[in-house]
């Protein structure tokens, strides 16, 4: 049940990131244009903007417009009321814009509209103050030509296609951290809590089954189970990037880092299960712990937007170090000695955390056995 729910969440997230990755991250806003003026200027401006942006239809209803902008289905709505052309040079422009709060996107669109108005005015003056009907198509064509001048951008030192796929891989591997923690607590954690109950444990031990063998079996079976879940999610994720990404050494290293995180988090879950000893609390901890890790480590929200103290706090989780590796491999343009050193240091930290959890678990078990 948990796996089905979290697989649905994972697929949803994969769908949302696959369409967006580009070699250079360009903002491609979606706009809507409502032309109630139907003048020469408004018609031409509308046609110009439609050639430059993705557009969507929207009803001329304030509530519906605001809902679409809030939901980010549309980034900007330009509404030209009747009398727009006559009013454009006055203080009372018959125009209204509806936008989200992303200043950068608003600036892009408003700059473009302003550019159009500037060039339109330039041709008006050049042609004697008014654009004759017979020259309107020529003016529109010239403005389109001017505005369609595009400068190419590229990514430093990388193959564009590979960068796209590595970025997708980064997103799905980072989201996988959250999924694995949630499933790990709910499946492995709860199972261990139930198995460590005195009434169950004593039946195993009284049969002569050594305690250390029992602990070893629990550890390996937990690790195999988590690895299987991890593998299933990796295969699902690779359907988005294509399996040929595995030929890229960075992708392989990202997978290695992700697997080391699985080992580490399995050991931590086993420790916490032995400490918590309540299956209900363990099930609830799956939600809380996974969300805490996901928000603090930079999985849901970029670290650049978080307060420093929270980023510092997240260093106690292996997820923080895994994200470090994933970002290094997905976004750093060069992979030199320094970068490889960072990569291995992050791996070592994750392994150490796991080993520390394992040792603490052994100590906890031993002290419990002694007290019994």
């Amino acid at each position: 049940m948990y796996i089905a729910i979290f697989l649905a969440i994972f697929l949803g997230n994969l769908k949302s990131v696959t369409g967006e990755t580009k070699s250079l991250y360009y903002v491609e806003p979606t706009i809507a244009i409502i032309d109630e003026d139907k003048s020469q200027l408004s018609t031409n401006l509308k046609s110009y903007l439609e050639s430059r942006y993705k557009t969507q239809e929207v009803e001329a209803d304030e509530d519906k417009i605001k809902d679409k902008v809030f939901a980010k289905s549309i980034h900007y709505v330009i509404r030209m009321h009747e009398g727009f052309e006559e009013s454009i040079k006055t203080d009372d422009q018959k125009y209204k814009g509806y936008s989200g709060s992303e200043a950068s996107v608003n600036r892009l669109i408003e700059y473009d509209v302003q550019q159009y108005l500037t060039y339109y005015n330039l041709y008006e003056i050049s042609l004697g103050g008014e654009i004759p009907e017979e020259k309107m198509d020529w003016v529109q064509g010239e403005i389109q030509n001017i505005s369609s001048q595009e400068v190419d951008g590229k990514v430093l030192g990388s193959d564009e296609n590979a960068t796209n796929k590595l970025t997708t891989m980064y997103y799905f591997l980072s989201f996988l951290i959250y999924i694995l923690i949630a499933i790990g607590f709910a499946s492995v954690g709860v199972t261990i809590v139930l198995m460590e109950r005195r009434s169950v444990k004593i039946r195993d031990l009284v049969s002569g089954y050594p305690a250390w063998m029992r602990s070893k079996s629990i550890f390996f079976s937990s690790l195999i189970w988590m690895s299987l879940i991890w593998l299933l999610m990796i295969i699902v994720g690779l359907t988005a990037t294509g399996f040929e990404i595995l030929q890229n050494s960075r992708a392989l290293l990202m997978i290695v880092s992700s697997f080391v995180h699985v080992i580490s988090i399995t050991l931590i879950i086993i420790l916490l299960a032995n400490m918590i000893q309540s299956d209900r609390v363990m099930a609830l901890a799956s939600t809380l712990f996974s969300l805490i890790v996901a928000f603090s480590s930079g999985i849901f929200v970029p670290r650049e937007l978080m307060i420093k103290e929270l980023v510092l706090f997240s260093k106690i989780f292996p997820a923080h170090w895994d994200i470090n590796n994933l970002q290094l491999l997905a976004f750093d343009t060069t992979l030199g000695q320094a970068e490889y050193r960072s990569f291995f240091v992050n791996l070592a930290i994750m392994l150490l955390m796991g080993v520390a959890a394992g040792i603490l678990n052994l100590i906890l078990n031993r002290s419990r056995e002694r007290s019994e």
Binding site: M1, R107, I146, L156, F295, V301, T333
Partner: protein, 373 residues
């Protein structure tokens, strides 16, 4: 019980800490755009253009300083040095002029490549417009070149009145709206517990209680009311605490709280209905009570904002019928419009949802025969 208090408080604290900069920053405070160019390629014309858009030239050692300008540009002696600055993320782009105007950046998701692209596109466009006017004069399309003298005297194109822009409620607030809705809908287990305290076949203690003469409905409501009061107080406390953490739900506190209260009551009756119809399978019920609200909150945009956009475009019905979607939409509407007709529609929809689950619970509780007690 203590977990019902710890979880929301811990979650909300962390959530607010993680997202506080997202909402308050909202990319209004963009850093200065920085570009690097080879000194042997950058022409005077382009530098004048950059100066005209609030740009200034700086030296490489000044790159780490913060200045209040839109753009800074650095001139270097070699392409290798320029690439190094990009790779070290000291500049946003490396602009080259040969063989044609182009730029290079890192692949990291950022808005700065878009800004650099627009800047360079407009420079290229400006050169094109000069060429277009010259050609038009030469081929007679502009038959009266004296008109161009007016441009030399002063060119004052119309400026878009930006004060006429309505800025929506920040889409980043969807995180907070959905998280409050998720917490309001969290106490499903409390509702299930009420039924466990009522149905004899779900709990050995209840079995003993049910041997007494009290009617089932009386037992149900006597168990429900204190838990309900506790949960309503808790969601109110969560609301106050989140305001303390700096979350801005707007000024319509009573409206926000009504959504929270209604959501909490709906959650308890949803949990109760679930417990009524799944008496034996507690593990399955527990999985549903943890997983389903999380899934609905995910679809509402609690973890990844794009999911909300995707759902609104492709499957808007899901957020319309889910209680978490109804609560978060209600919070947004209150924020944007106040106590409008649409807000009351959301309250009504949530009430209908509640009514359905009240009926389901009561029907499920009535006339149940046990195989044996």
């Amino acid at each position: 019980m203590i977990w019902n208090i710890i979880f929301p408080i811990a979650y909300l604290t962390l959530f607010s800490l993680a997202l506080s900069k997202v909402v308050t920053t909202s990319d209004v405070d963009l850093d200065t755009v920085r570009i690097v160019m080879p000194s042997y390629e950058a022409n005077e014309d382009f530098r004048e253009f950059l100066d005209g858009v609030d740009g200034q030239e700086i030296s490489v050692d000044k790159l780490s300083e913060t200045n209040d300008v839109f753009l800074e540009y650095v001139l270097v002696d070699s392409a290798e040095k320029a690439e190094e600055l990009v790779s070290d993320k000291k500049v946003h782009a490396f602009v080259e002029f040969e063989p044609e105007l182009q730029f290079t950046g890192t692949g990291e998701p950022s808005v700065y490549p878009s800004i650099v692209k627009q800047l360079l596109d407009s420079y290229k466009g400006m050169k094109k417009s000069e060429e277009s006017i010259q050609n038009a004069v030469m081929d007679g399309t502009i038959s009266n070149p004296e008109n161009l003298m007016a441009l030399e005297k002063g060119f004052d194109p119309p400026k878009l009145d930006l004060s006429k822009r309505y800025e929506s409620v920040s889409p980043d607030k969807i995180y907070f709206f959905v998280s409050f809705a998720y917490l309001a809908f969290f106490p499903l287990a409390a509702g299930a517990q009420v039924v466990e305290n009522t149905e004899a076949n779900q709990n050995v203690y209840t079995m003993r209680k049910r041997l007494g003469p009290a009617s089932k409905l009386k037992v149900f409501f006597s168990s429900l009311v204190p838990l309900l009061v506790f949960q309503l107080l808790l969601i109110s406390l969560i609301y106050v605490y989140s305001k303390f953490l700096g979350v801005d739900y707007g000024e319509h506190h009573l409206g926000n709280l009504s959504l929270g209260w209604l959501g909490t009551i709906a959650s308890m009756f949803t949990g109760a209905a679930l417990a009524t119809y799944t008496p034996k399978n507690k593990n399955f019920r527990q999985a549903l009570m943890i997983g389903v609200p999380l899934l609905i909150a995910f679809l509402g945009g609690m973890m990844v904002q794009n999911i909300y956009t995707m759902m609104q475009e492709k499957f808007p019905i899901i957020n319309k019928i889910s209680p978490i979607g109804m609560i978060s939409d209600g919070l947004y509407i209150l924020n944007a419009e106040g106590y409008s007709a649409r807000f009351f529609q959301k309250l009504s929809a949530l009430s209908i949802y509640l009514l359905i689950f009240v009926v389901l619970t009561l029907v499920g509780l009535r006339r149940k025969k046990y195989e044996s007690i």
